[in-house]
């Protein structure tokens, strides 16, 4: 039987995949549109994605905890903490590189007069690119932690 913490990670990873499946085509459309993307529509999409992520996380974790009340109340032990910190470290690197990349790209967009030759997604709204970077870093974090759990089983 797998631990509650691992089940929780599978749920979180599943949610990130579900969110990507539902909103992935919209995000791709706006990334492809580049500068011509409507800022209000982008803001509305980001709001929907964030709300859907929070609602799914809360509802599914409540359901999971209700199914396993005894295990859900157990404190995290040293092995679980160790794996969480290792996964957080890798997720942090992905997030940092992504954010720095987005900021550098934004600076390049401002200073270099070569935007016409860019692929459209490089000039797409920075907030949308940051949401994608955050989503990727979360997926990497969940997947890494699950990898450590699976490695020992």
């Amino acid at each position: 039987m797998i631990a509650f913490r691992e089940k929780s990670l599978w749920v979180s990873l599943l949610i990130t995949v579900v969110i990507a499946t539902i909103y992935g085509d919209n995000i791709y459309y706006f990334l492809k549109a580049g500068q011509s993307a409507d800022p209000q529509a982008v803001a509305a999409l980001i709001t929907r994605v964030v709300i859907a992520f929070i609602v799914l996380e809360v509802v599914l974790h409540i359901a999971l905890a209700m199914g396993e009340q005894e295990n859900a109340n157990l404190p995290e032990d040293e092995r679980e903490r160790n794996y969480r910190l290792l996964a957080n470290n890798i997720g942090y690197w992905v997030l940092s590189i992504g954010v720095i990349g987005c900021v550098l790209q934004q600076m390049a967009n401002s200073y270099i007069e070569a935007q016409a030759s860019y692929p459209a997604f490089l000039s797409s709204p920075i907030e949308l690119k940051l949401v994608v970077v955050f989503w990727v870093s979360e997926a990497v974090r969940f997947a890494t932690e699950i990898y450590y759990y699976r490695k020992e089983s």
Partner: protein
Amino acid sequence: MSAQYKITNTIKTLRFFANEMTQQELASKVGVTRQTIMAIEKGKYSPSLEVAFKIALVFGRPFDEVFAYEKITD
């Protein structure tokens, strides 16, 4: 090439001789999850000194009777 060592343990045997104590019972006494005890038994996770001492304490045995640091290659 330097010699390689591995942490081994006799937890499974000690559980058997302690009235066939279950992994869950040991986990509750030590304050970790059952999965952690299982990983330690299999040698796939090396516990902290604190957890290792707690395990030895549960069985009332000296530390080096429970855990050993053995050479696996020269």
